[in-house]
Symmetry: C2
Subunit: 108 residues, 2 copies
């Protein structure tokens, strides 16, 4: 059907899945890495960094924003994008916890 049964899972599971899904495209990973590289909020030059048309990039930015991974603030004519640290902290903690739990396991 193509429709996900989100109501069958916990809020936490849905949140992690939503953020992971948003990162589940190389263009969006590239956007995040570019935002990290320039080490600041950047206004506009994301399109010229990617081998994709402007509307496509705009769409990817929208998805990252919807998932809470980036923030965008209007700055006159342009929009200033930067990473939303909170989301990445949640992800980092999630995977750190998994590794910690795995260390205590003794199978496989």
């Amino acid at each position: 059907m193509g429709v996900t049964k989100t109501d069958y899972f916990t809020g936490n599971q849905n949140q992690i899945a939503m953020m992971a899904k948003a990162l589940g495209h190389p263009a969006r990973i590239a956007i995040i890495e570019h935002l990290l590289k320039v080490n600041a909020c950047i206004c506009g030059d994301i399109v010229s960094e990617l081998p994709l048309a402007q509307p496509t990039v705009s769409q990817h930015l929208k998805e990252l924003k919807n998932a809470g991974l980036i923030k965008g603030s209007i700055e006159g004519n342009t929009i200033c994008y930067c990473i939303d640290e909170r989301a990445f902290k949640i992800l980092k903690n999630y995977f750190t916890k998994i590794i910690t739990k795995l260390a205590k396991q003794n199978c496989c």
Copy 2:
């Protein structure tokens, strides 16, 4: 088009995106968490844990396996699934690195 231009991005970007994509569904997060909870390889009871039909679960398991997130070994009649630690270490390191970089930034 629905087709991702993976050749435009680096191998690392594609790898992270591929793993994130596989985790981008609450059912697959639930599978991972169940594998963690039972603290061992488990043979078969994943289907009864999820509110989804057996072929659907089988499909999700396949995707997790293709992304390298879980391993499955045949054990007679059943199949024994467990988490592949390597993938999760890559993810943990990736997000840890992002948080480290963010700590050095002073914007937003």
